[in-house]
């Protein structure tokens, strides 16, 4: 009886020590789930989800504070990916957070720009160059189309221009099966 107890206690101690060591030795820095969610999000950093950036939204989803359908730039496909990752049901994009739009980039009308730097401060990815009282311009390849620069502009000189398809970005269409009318 005593021997059995001692043996069991001994095993418990040894296993406990092993587990304790392993938890220190193989500690994972950060939350891998947050990174996985963050990788799915489009990184527009627009804040339409109600969080200041994609990473905070990913954190909120991981903590169960936010739903998966709050990201308009990610669209339906993004929600599907999140649903797959988290093993949840797909749900349509929540309307209060916005609607899915074609990808656009900001364009500054350089004639109207007064060089106030407000848009530069608003840009989450530093995609606008310029200085005080100097004309500003958007570095197009870096712009995520978040629209955060539109509101601060005091002269409304920023517009969103849809990204046009070029020979380099053109995609073959999904083959459509023609349904022919038979007599």
């Amino acid at each position: 009886m005593l021997t059995a107890l001692l043996v069991m206690a001994g095993i418990a101690v040894v296993l406990g020590a092993a587990l304790g060591y392993a938890s220190i030795r193989f500690k994972v820095e950060g939350d891998p789930l947050v990174d996985k969610i963050d990788a799915i999000l489009p990184q527009t950093q627009c804040g339409q989800c109600g969080y200041p950036g994609c990473k905070p939204y990913a954190q909120a989803i991981a903590n169960g504070e936010a739903d998966i359908n709050q990201c308009p730039p990610g669209g339906e496909e993004g929600i599907r990916h999140l649903a797959d990752l988290l093993g949840r049901e797909f749900k349509p994009l929540s309307e209060e957070h916005g609607i899915e739009k074609p990808k656009s980039v900001a364009f500054i009308d350089e004639q109207t720009c007064i060089g106030c730097t407000l848009c530069i401060q608003a840009c989450p990815v530093d995609a606008i160059v310029g200085a005080a009282k100097q004309m500003h311009t958007v570095v197009e390849p870096l712009c995520t189309g978040c629209e955060l620069c539109l509101a601060p502009c005091p002269v409304d000189c920023i517009t969103m221009e849809p990204v046009v398809e070029t020979v380099e970005t053109w995609k073959w269409k999904y083959p459509v099966i023609e349904i022919r009318q038979t007599a």
Partner: protein, 569 residues
């Protein structure tokens, strides 16, 4: 000499249709009234325009500078005036536009001063730069820059010259080899020297006996320094695919994701060899190519066409029959139907086929895949086309890539043999471009993430730096104060009733007052009496104004205005 030839997997035997256009000699195409030279000759890279509207250019003058890693130069195909620089539809299945230089020929066709390139007096690097600036690209259709292919390194043992021309209908390489065999052989010798090849294999499909004969004769005449063999390979589509021809001639099988250069073999088209010959021996940049005009036409043939000639200008040459319903650019297996006939010939355009419903009947309706495996038997890349089809169709792109979607050469063998008439290649093209789009998107997202994180870090750093600066300044002021008003301060602090902050403010106020008192009005010394009288008068007025009625502030006026507006509304 009997040489052992190898076989590649699969392949099909479509109707060759070579005889229609192969009988007539190459003729020069007449000069069009306007040439449209695209600065973007392929989807890979665009040249930077270096001419202006109104400028007069000579034939062979560079109009576009090579830009980027895969860029090559673009030249004026004839002498004339640049009348516009703007977007024009491109020879691309999308029918999208790309920047192009419009030239109105002056009819003189006057060459710029040409200087042949002396390879003996120059090194390899300048040779490659020379080819890039002569605009030499692969003439087989893909228009890949030749200097990049040559630049992979020396020590390539075998140079393969691709004269297979396996696609039905096309005969431009056939005619080129028959008529200009010597030039092709000379170009091949130059290419061999640049990559340091020890032997040259020229592969020609055995349905072109005249071309084989002509090339053998040219080799015998040229008496090249290294062994050059002209080899007739069995006609089997796609024997002209780079990996397939290398396999047939050398037995080397190039694995997934590798290029010929890594296995000591490099492959160039006969047209490219000819262009290299012209560029090195005569200094002529690539401004024209041979184009086959064939199909449902009365007078098919091969024409020497200037790059930039609009396709609609060439159509009368072949005389398309009345029932022609569309035109294909490239061969029937890999080409595409043109949506716009104003698109210009580019360096990679080898053939225009007039198509009619009788010649190219519309494909029967697509039926479900019956898993017969015909496509896998026909695939020259040894893929599993039916698996790729299922994954592409269901948009399961990860799985499609696992089955080596990107090894597909889009030759069309699988669609050709499919008993259910499934447009398999269309599905692969869709999947490939979708995967590329996703890769671009994810690269952009990664960049945005990095930039966003860096911006947050920068803002945080600026905040702490500012706080540190303020703290340092406050400490400095405090120390100064303690020095000057040491006694007072001590008393106050000892007193305990006064807040040290308040004491600081009081001290600052006192200092400001002191400073204000110390400031004297400028230019008040040694004034003439009249000026002093004036000052006194002004002072008196000022005192009066301050003491008496205050001047009406501006705000009143504005309020009035607002009131008026309110009434109006």
């Amino acid at each position: 000499m009997i040489r052992k030839l190898f076989k590649f997997h699969g392949g099909v035997h479509p109707e060759p249709h070579k005889s229609e256009s192969a009988t007539a000699a190459i003729r020069p195409a007449p000069m069009p009234s306007e040439l449209v030279v695209p600065l973007r000759q392929s989807t890979r890279a665009a040249a930077r325009c270096i001419v202006e509207v109104g400028q007069h250019v000579l034939k062979g003058q560079r109009i576009g500078e090579a830009e980027g890693k895969l860029g090559t130069a673009v030249h004026a195909p004839t002498s004339g005036e640049v009348i516009a620089i703007g977007d024009h539809p491109m020879a691309h299945p999308s029918g999208l536009t790309a920047p192009a230089v419009h030239i109105r020929p002056d009819g003189l066709d006057q060459w710029i001063d040409l200087t042949p390139f002396d390879y003996d007096a120059n090194d390899r690097i300048s040779m490659l730069a020379n080819l890039r600036d002569a605009g030499i690209v692969g003439m087989g259709g893909a228009a890949f820059p030749s200097h990049i292919k040559l630049g992979t390194g020396i020590g390539i043992e075998t140079l393969v010259i691709n004269g297979a021309e396996c696609e039905p209908w096309i005969t431009c390489d056939d005619r080129l080899m028959r008529e200009r065999g010597n030039a092709v052989i000379d170009g091949a010798a130059i290419l061999a020297e640049v990559i340091g090849a020890r032997r040259v294999l020229i592969g020609i499909e055995d349905n072109k006996p005249e071309a084989v004969e002509s090339m053998r004769k040219a080799v015998a005449e040229a008496r090249p320094a290294l062994p050059m063999d002209v080899i007739a390979v069995p006609s089997l589509y796609p024997a002209g695919g780079e990996k397939q021809l290398i396999r047939v001639l050398t037995g080397i099988e190039i694995p997934h994701g590798k290029l010929g250069g890594e296995f000591g073999v490099q492959c160039f088209n006969t047209g490219t060899a000819h262009a290299v010959h012209r560029a090195v021996r005569f200094g002529e940049p690539l401004v024209s190519r041979i184009v086959t005009l064939t199909g449902n036409a009365d007078t098919p043939g091969n024409y020497e066409v200037l790059v930039g000639t609009p396709i609609q200008h060439l159509l009368p040459l072949m005389g398309p029959r009345p029932d022609t319903d569309r035109f294909l650019l490239g061969g029937p297996m890999m080409g595409f139907a043109l949506t716009d006939l104003s698109v210009p010939i580019v360096k990679g355009s080898n053939c225009i086929i007039a198509a009619s419903p009788t010649l190219f009947p519309p494909p029967p309706a697509e039926l479900p895949c019956i898993r017969c495996g015909e496509c896998a038997r026909a695939c020259p890349a040894e893929l599993q086309p039916f698996e790729l089809y299922w994954f592409s169709r269901s948009r399961n792109f990860g799985k499609a890539q696992e089955y080596h979607l990107f090894d597909c050469i889009e030759c069309g063998c699988c669609s050709y043999v499919c008993p259910s008439h499934i447009p398999l290649v269309d599905y692969y093209r869709f999947a490939k471009s979708e995967i590329w789009a996703r890769e671009r998107e994810s690269a952009a997202a990664d960049q945005a993430r990095d930039r966003f994180e860096f911006r947050n870090y920068r803002q945080e750093r600026e905040k702490t730096e500012k706080a540190a600066k303020l703290a340092a300044k406050a400490a400095e002021t405090k120390a100064k104060l303690a020095e000057t008003e040491g006694v007072d301060n001590k008393v106050q602090v000892a007193d305990g009733s006064e807040d040290p902050k308040k004491a600081l403010i009081a001290a600052a106020l006192a200092r400001a007052k002191q400073q204000k008192a110390a400031i004297k009005p400028a230019n008040t010394d040694n004034l003439p009496p009249e000026a002093e009288a004036e000052i006194a008068e002004i002072e008196a007025r000022r005192q009066k104004a301050l003491g008496g009625s205050e001047p009406k502030p501006l705000g009143v006026l504005t309020t009035d205005n607002n009131g008026g507006e309110d009434k109006q509304s």
